[in-house]
């Protein structure tokens, strides 16, 4: 599991070094292709730029299947950017570029022959602020089915019930599915967004500080939900809340200034981190 690469080297080398890196990436890819027991998501020498500003520096990490991986770090460390790279949501932003690669199940998400849409169908996402559409609860959940052209009534009904039950919201809203989603409370809305994200049965669930706008009770419900969801989904969660990371995640990655400082089992990170910066951050001395 401690597949730690020397990814913190700054990309300052000349052309030959870049060439060399490319060869390394290609080799790694080949190895992964051959290795049946490879990690589910692999981040390989991944750098990311907004225009000329580099925000991610040669990240390398392997994320296991059906576990919760938390990304922690102070504001601006690039954890949200990394999360949004998994389903290429950053494509919407002007002037971005990247180096290195991210592989899911051995296939690059930057593969030009991969439809971004199909990638996103595979990866659900829950945003920091709940963002239900201005539609009914029912229509919110079946949205991903409708855009795929699946309009069979029975399937939609089945999906709504399954998703809402999985998001622990069914009992609260089953009688008002036709009401606008805006009639829900903040915590309910966020669970609705989770239900919506899993309606199409993705494999991976990205969560970008899902509880930051919620009160402790609602947060508790969401955390319980994450525990249940990891049975079925690979979850990557960005959080500012150290306790939350400790409570919900199996693995934790600490990012600082665009670099992956430490990535290990959550327990290790919080009790016995290798790096001093990690220790300082998780103990609350900075950040």
């Amino acid at each position: 599991m401690n597949d730690k690469h020397d990814g913190t080297v700054a990309a300052t080398g000349g052309a030959s070094e870049i060439q060399q890196r490319r060869v390394q990436v290609a080799q790694r890819r080949k190895k992964i292709d051959n290795d049946a027991s490879a990690q589910y998501i692999q981040v390989c020498d991944h750098s990311f730029f907004y225009g000329s500003a580099q925000v991610l520096f040669d990240l390398n990490m392997d994320i296991p299947e059906r576990q919760v991986t938390a990304l922690i770090g102070p504001s601006g460390c690039g954890k949200s950017t990394l999360l949004r790279n998994f389903n290429r949501m950053n494509d919407l932003i002007d002037g971005i570029s990247h180096r290195g690669d991210i592989l899911i199940d051995g296939r690059s998400i930057y593969d030009p022959y991969l439809e971004v849409i199909s990638l996103r169908k595979r990866i659900g996402m829950v945003f920091q602020k709940s963002n239900p559409f201005p539609k009914s609860i029912y229509e919110n959940i079946v949205y991903s089915l409708r855009v795929a052209g699946r309009n069979r009534r029975a399937e939609l009904d089945e999906t709504v019930e399954r998703s809402l039950r999985a998001a622990a919201l069914w009992d609260e809203v089953k009688d008002r599915l036709r009401e606008t989603a805006f009639s829900l409370s903040g915590g309910q809305m966020q669970r609705l967004c989770i239900a919506r994200a899993i309606a199409n049965r993705p494999e991976i669930l990205l969560m970008d500080e899902p509880c930051s706008a919620l009160d402790p009770v609602a947060t508790g419900k969401i955390e319980d939900l994450i525990h249940q969801l990891k049975e079925e989904y690979t979850i990557i969660i960005v959080t500012h809340n150290m306790q939350q990371a400790a409570r919900v995640s199996d693995r934790t990655a600490f990012l600082y200034m665009g670099r992956l400082i430490e990535y290990d089992d959550t327990e290790t990170i919080f009790t016995n981190p290798t790096e001093e910066q990690t220790e300082a951050y998780v103990s609350g001395r900075f950040g």
Partner: protein, 767 residues
């Protein structure tokens, strides 16, 4: 009162500067006052327009002015001068008695005085008729001769002020009209300047004879010479009963004979011969068909009839499509009078007439079939005259008292149906909506229907929106949802510059440059447009079929690079194909030469029966679209871009395509803003003036044919207001048009705002 505790001094850093407070308070009031004054200003504009319009709908006001004694006699004719100051009466002997109605008891007041034509002593007058329009009396004698006598009023304006009206008679010599030396019983005269005819009815023993003569007038460089008889006609063969009424229109192109059994014979005179053209019975449906009165309205193309029961109808001369000739037909019906009219006087400025009998006097307006004023007066009326300036009414009663009434009716033509209803104007074959505010003749009647203008406004708006809406909305969706942000930074300001193009420039381009091009190549323009639409769909579909390895060559947001050349090519092909299509399909045969001509401009009217004009709604829609597109585009684009990014990301993260996201999430969420954009664009199109004035031809038509022009309410105001006399009927009608425009936009905006609020409520984003 207890002594106040001294306040703890506040440290200076907590003190608010008085200027800050003062300024804050001032701005508060200033903004309130500013806002209120805008509301007040708009209301005042509305009130002002309303005040300009309201007098249109006021009826005639009549008030007594004075009474005068008239020497007792048996009068047959009453007439008056332009100012109604010196009316006259003609007695059976043919003498004219003038009565001064100015300043009774004053030093300049003249007692009634008599004037006579020079030859009156030598003849015995058997009939006198008066034509008020020419201020001309017609005398018939008991030995079968006739003469005209002009009553020439002359006004002088002495230095001491006021006005002095003097009168002078100018008579022609007596001329023989019929060989029979028996009394002339009915006499009528018409003179168009080119030809003149006189018709006379006589009774020879127990047979009625009708004779007519055409007159010639010697014209020299020194002026008009004497009238003399040119040819004589015996029209007695056309009489088969007792003629009661005889009229000759001022055009001298016919004779109208009203028989005592209710029939009217219309003999047409072509300059050489009389032909019987029509026989009609005005009161065919009544038990008593007899005609009590039959008189001309101003212009002599309408006849006002009354029957003994009091029925009052107007027949007008218009072209009968079946007979291809101008014949008389029933056009107007008025409320019944108490009995047949015993007096009648037509207005000389409009289509009003004063009619009545006994105590009843009624002022009616022919065009609108309305009664402007009707009253039972406290005296028995024997004669009446309507002042030539339409400002006085004079009545003579059976006690020889002349009653003067002041008439205040500045807008007799104005009525609800004038502006919004179908009206059969004189000369028209059917009632229609018509706007025509000026004409070539003095007796021309304005046609003031606002319906063609309202329809023109809707037509212009419709064609502008049909063109602008799809383009503006699709462009906005594309720009905000698909275009790369770096391109968007360039596209949006360019579109906004388009909005700043002065509409007069657009109108100028449309009228002088675009209209000829489009009218030369209508099939090409249509084909090019159609080709673009079809190609957009086909290319879009084919693009989806292309292998992915080719598609990924283009980054999302740059697809237009592949698309634009295809579009240009297709549009060019459509343009060229248009000419081919025109050569093959839009061919008409020239009826005079038999040649085949390939020209859409000729083919369209030939094939559809509709008109084709160079400056048409198609061109206007196209150019007005240019004025409207930037407005709709900018506001829509803003509305779409203001949709919270969270909705977009949410949708995209769920695996929706950009198009699905735009249509299913962004568009509904922005619908309130898009709706206002459309409404603001609509408002611009409705109120747009300059483009329409310049590029439509301003013909007030009532059809939605894209290849004819129109006249909109706003263009109408711009075109006509400089020509409209201040506070006149036209002036106020233009304000009525403005009011209609105001109400139209007000209505649209109100409905739009209500709907917009609903939409906003429905798609309100949670905060």
């Amino acid at each position: 009162m207890t002594k106040q505790q001294p306040l703890k001094t506040i440290p200076e850093r907590f003190v608010v500067r008085p200027a800050t407070l003062w300024f804050d308070r001032f701005m508060n009031y200033f903004i309130t006052v500013g806002g209120l004054s805008i509301i007040i200003a708009v209301s005042l504009i509305f009130v002002f327009i309303l005040l300009q319009v309201l007098p249109l709908f006021r009826g005639a006001r009549v008030e007594p002015q004075g009474t005068f004694r008239v020497p007792g006699d048996d009068y047959v004719v009453m007439g008056t001068d332009e100012w109604s100051e010196l009316p006259f009466f003609v007695n059976r002997r043919g003498e004219l008695i003038f009565v001064d109605t100015v300043d009774p008891g004053g030093p300049d007041h003249r007692p009634p005085f008599t004037q006579t034509p020079a030859w009156l002593d030598e003849v015995e007058v058997s009939v006198v008729a008066y034509n008020a329009f020419r201020s001309q009396l017609l005398y018939g004698t008991s030995d079968g001769r006739f003469a005209t006598v002009d009553v020439q009023y002359e006004a002088t304006f002495p230095e001491r002020g006021g006005r002095e009206v003097s009168v002078q008679l100018r008579e022609t010599p007596l001329m023989r009209i019929s060989p029979a030396e028996v009394p002339v019983q009915r006499l009528a005269y018409g003179n168009s300047g080119n030809q003149a005819i006189v018709a006379a009815m006589q009774q020879v023993h127990d047979r009625y004879e009708l004779h007519a003569v055409s007159l010639v007038q010697q014209r020299t460089l020194l002026g008009d010479g004497e009238l003399s008889v040119d040819r004589s006609y015996d029209l007695s063969e056309h009489l088969d009963g007792k003629p009661e009424h005889l009229l000759v229109p001022s055009d001298a192109d016919g004779v109208l004979i009203g028989m005592d059994d209710g029939r009217v014979s219309y003999l047409h005179f072509d300059g050489h011969e009389f032909h019987k053209r029509q026989m009609f019975v005005p009161f065919r449906d009544l038990d008593d068909r007899r005609i009590v009165s039959m008189d001309f309205l101003l212009g002599d193309v309408s006849l006002v009839f009354t029957a003994s029961c009091g029925a009052n109808r107007i027949f007008s001369l218009y072209r009968d499509p079946q007979r291809d000739a101008r014949v008389w037909g029933h056009t107007k019906t008025f409320p019944d009078l108490e009995r047949g009219a015993s007096f009648y006087s037509a207005a000389m400025r409009n289509k009003a007439f004063l009619i009545g009998g006994g105590h009843i006097a009624s002022l009616r307006y022919a065009t609108t079939e309305s009664v402007r004023w009707e009253e039972a007066l406290p005296f028995w009326i024997t004669h009446a005259a309507l002042g030539p300036r339409y400002d006085r009414m004079l009545f003579l009663d059976d006690q020889y008292t002349l009653h003067c009434y002041r008439l205040n009716d500045p807008h007799p033509q104005a009525a609800w149906r004038t502006f919004f209803g179908r009206i059969q104007y004189e000369g028209q074959s059917a009632p229609e909506f018509a706007w025509q505010s000026t004409g070539g003749r003095d007796d021309f009647e304005r046609k003031l229907s606002l319906v063609p203008l309202i329809l023109g406004t809707l037509k212009g708006t419709f064609y502008a929106m049909i063109f602008a809406l799809p383009i503006a909305l699709l462009a906005a969706i594309y720009t905000s949802q698909f275009l790369r942000p770096e391109m968007k930074r360039f596209v949006k300001p360019v579109m906004e510059i388009m909005a700043s193009l002065p509409s007069v420039v657009l109108g100028f381009l449309a009228a002088l440059w675009l209209a000829p091009i489009i009218s030369n190549a209508v099939p090409s323009v249509l084909l090019a447009m159609g080709a673009i639409i079809v190609a957009a769909l086909v290319v879009g579909y084919l693009w989806g079929l292309l292998p992915q390895r080719i598609r990924v060559q283009l980054k999302p947001g740059y697809e237009f690079l592949a698309f634009v050349p295809v579009m240009l090519l297709v549009a060019y092909a459509g343009w060229q194909l248009g000419f081919v299509a025109e050569r093959h399909w839009f061919v008409v045969e020239d009826p005079s030469t038999g040649l085949q001509i390939a020209d859409f401009r000729l083919w369209f009217p030939y094939a559809t029966g509709l008109g084709f004009e160079q400056r048409n709604a198609f061109v206007v829609g196209f150019v007005m679209g240019f004025a409207v597109i930037p407005i709709i585009f900018t506001i829509t684009e803003d509305a779409l871009s203001n949709v919270p990014e969270a909705f977009r990301s949410g949708s995209l993260a769920l695996g929706a395509s950009r198009w699905q996201t735009a249509i299913r999430i962004v568009l509904p969420t922005a619908s309130a803003g898009i709706f206002s954009a459309i409404m603001i664009g609509l408002g611009r199109a409705v109120g747009e003036t300059m483009i329409v004035v310049m590029a439509t031809g301003n013909t007030p038509v009532t059809e939605f044919n894209p290849f004819t022009g129109m006249r909109t309410l706003s263009a109408n105001i711009a075109v006509e207001l400089p020509e409209a006399p201040y506070l006149g009927t036209l002036y106020r009608t233009l304000f009525l048009g403005a009011l209609v425009l105001f109400l139209m936009t007000f209505l649209v905006n109100t409905v739009a705002e209500i709907l917009r609020q609903r939409l906003r409520e429905k798609y309100r984003a949670v905060e």
